[in-house]
Amino acid sequence: MITPRPVLLRPILGAAGLVVLFGVWEASIRLGWVPSGLLPAPTSLGPAWLEEVRSGAWTQAIRDSLTHYLTGLLAGSVLGTLLGLLCGAVPLLDGLLSGVVRVLRPIPGLAWVPFAILWFGLNTAGATFVIAISVFWINFYAAYGAVQSIDPDLYEVAASFGHGGFWARLRTVVIPASAPGVLAGLRTGLGQAWMSVVAAELFGVPGIGARMMQASSLLATDLVVVYMLTMALLYALTDTLFMLVRKRLLGWQG
C-alpha cells in the first residue's frame, strides 16, 4: 500500500497554491503593479459579495442560472446519451445519421443563439436550448464511443445465456458496459454546461451571465469576479455531487 502522505499532501498543496494566487493578486494591487480599475483587490470581493447578497440579486441570479443549467443539462444529456447509445447499437441508424452528425457537429451551441432568440425569445427556454445543444454533442459522442468499444465477446456470452434479442442485449450488455463512458461524458457536460450558461445569458436572459454583463458595463469589476468565483463554487459543488453518485454506480471498477 502507498503511504497516506501523498493523499493528504494534494489538497494541502492545492490550498497553498490558492493562497499564493490571492496573495500575489492582493500584493500586486497594493504595490501598484496593476493600475487601479483593471482588477479588483481580493479584499474588496467580500464586501461586494455581501452587498449583492443583501440586495437579493445574488440568490436570484443563482436561482435563474441553476434553472437554465439543470434543465439544459438534463435535456442535452438525456437526448445525447440516448441517441449516442442507439447509434452505437444500431448500425442502420448510425449510417443514416452519419451525414447529419457531420454537418451539425461542428456548429457550437453559441452559434444557435440567433435561432434560440427567434424561436424561444430571451427567456429560460432560449437559454436552456443553447445549453442543451452544447451538452448534447458531448454526451452523444461519449455514449457512441462507449458502445463501440464494448468487447464483442460479451454479446456472445449474453446470447449464449438467453439474452440474444435487441432489448435483452441492450439491458444485459450495452447499458452496463457503456456506463463508465457515458458517465465520463456526463461529467464533461457538467462543466461545459456552466460555460454555456454564461454564454447563453450574456444576451440578456436573467441569471449569473446577465448579472456579470450588467456589472461589467458599470465597471463593477469586483462584482464580475464575485460571480466568476460563484460559478467556480457551483461547478465544484455539482462535480462533487456527481462523483459521489458515480462512485456508487461504478463500484465494480474499484
Binding site: 456472445e156 456470452v157 446470447a159 449464449s160 438467453g162 439474452h163 444485459t172 450488455v173 465494480w252
Partner: protein, 270 residues
C-alpha cells in the same frame, strides 16, 4: 471415477451433427466440411485439432450463435427441469465486470422463470461446486484468472445444460492452475455426469480429460479420427496410450492414419 462411456446402442444422443460445412465466404470455400458427429449423454468428448482449424467456430454453431453454412445441428433437450439445452464456457471466462460473482452466475438463470430466491439458490450451489461460494459478493476484477474461469464454469453449470461446451477454457492459465482446474473439472464431471464437448489444441489436456477424443484437421477441415480412451486414472506412459497419442499427433499434422482401415476416420479403442 464414474465417467465411463455408456454403449452407443443404449445411450441416448444429446447432439447430432449432420454433414456440417462452415464457410466464411458464402460457400465459395470451406474452412470445415462434411462433419458428422454424435455425442451421447454423459460423454466427455475432446475436440482436438491445430489452432485455426475451426474448432471454436464449430462450437459456436452447436451453441446456436451462428448458423452452419451447410448441414444441420440437432440438439436434444430433456423436457423435465428448468434448464438450457446448451451452455458455454468461454476462453477467457468473459465475465461481465459490472456484475458481482453471484450475479454473473445468475446470468443464464434470468429469463427461465425462476424467482429471485430460487435463482440465488441455484447460483450458490454452482459456486459451491467450484469452491467459490465465499466469493459470491466479489467483483470479477478481485479474482485471479483461475477463479474467474471457475466462475465461468459455475455460470454454465447452473443452467444444468444437456450439453456443456468448453472453448479452450484453460488455455490462458498458467500450468499449475490449469492442472488444478482440469482435476476439478473431472471431479465435477464424475459428480454431475454431464455431457461435455471440450475444445483444445493440447493433446495432453485431451488425454487427461476426455473419454473420447475427436481429431479435427485438414483443409478444409474434417473429422480425421475418433478415439475412445480407457478408464481413469490413466498411465500416460503405458505403451497403448503412447501409441494412440502418436497416431493422434500424425492425424493433427495432416498425415494419413497408418492404423486406420478407412481413409476418412476410424474409431479405435485400447
Amino acid at each position: 471415477m464414474n465417467s465411463v462411456v455408456t454403449p452407443a446402442s443404449t445411450a441416448d444422443v444429446v447432439v447430432r451433427l449432420e454433414d456440417i460445412g462452415l464457410s466464411h465466404d458464402h460457400g465459395r470455400s470451406f474452412i470445415l466440411r462434411h462433419v458428422d458427429l454424435e455425442i451421447r449423454r454423459g460423454e466427455f468428448v475432446a475436440l482436438l485439432g491445430p489452432s485455426g482449424v475451426g474448432k471454436s467456430t464449430l462450437l459456436r454453431v452447436i451453441m446456436g450463435l451462428m448458423p452452419p453454412g451447410e448441414g444441420r445441428v440437432e440438439l436434444k433437450s430433456t423436457p423435465a427441469s428448468v434448464h438450457r439445452p446448451a451452455a458455454m464456457v468461454f476462453q477467457d471466462a468473459k465475465l461481465m465486470p459490472w456484475r458481482s460473482v453471484l450475479r454473473n452466475v445468475e446470468l443464464g438463470l434470468e429469463g427461465l422463470g425462476l424467482d429471485r430466491n430460487r435463482r440465488r439458490e441455484r447460483a450458490m450451489a454452482a459456486l459451491e461446486l467450484v469452491g467459490l461460494a465465499d466469493k459470491a459478493d466479489r467483483w470479477p476484477r478481485q479474482l485471479s484468472g483461475g477463479q474467474r474461469q471457475r466462475v465461468g464454469v459455475a455460470r454454465a453449470l447452473t443452467v444444468e445444460p444437456d450439453l456443456l461446451l468448453m472453448d479452450e477454457p484453460f488455455g490462458a492459465l498458467d500450468a499449475i492452475t490449469r492442472t488444478a482446474l482440469q482435476e476439478e473439472l473431472l471431479r465435477i464431471h464424475a459428480r454431475t455426469h454431464g455431457t461435455v464437448l471440450f475444445v483444445t489444441h493440447d493433446l495432453d489436456e485431451a488425454l487427461v480429460l476426455a473419454d473420447r477424443i475427436i481429431i479435427l484437421a485438414g483443409h478444409p477441415a474434417g473429422l480425421r479420427g475418433d478415439f475412445t480412451v480407457g478408464p481413469r486414472p490413466r498411465d500416460r506412459t503405458a505403451p497403448g496410450l503412447r501409441a494412440m497419442a502418436e497416431r493422434m499427433k500424425r492425424l493433427i499434422a495432416g498425415e494419413e492414419d497408418p492404423g486406420a482401415d478407412a481413409a476418412y476416420w476410424q474409431a479405435s479403442e485400447i
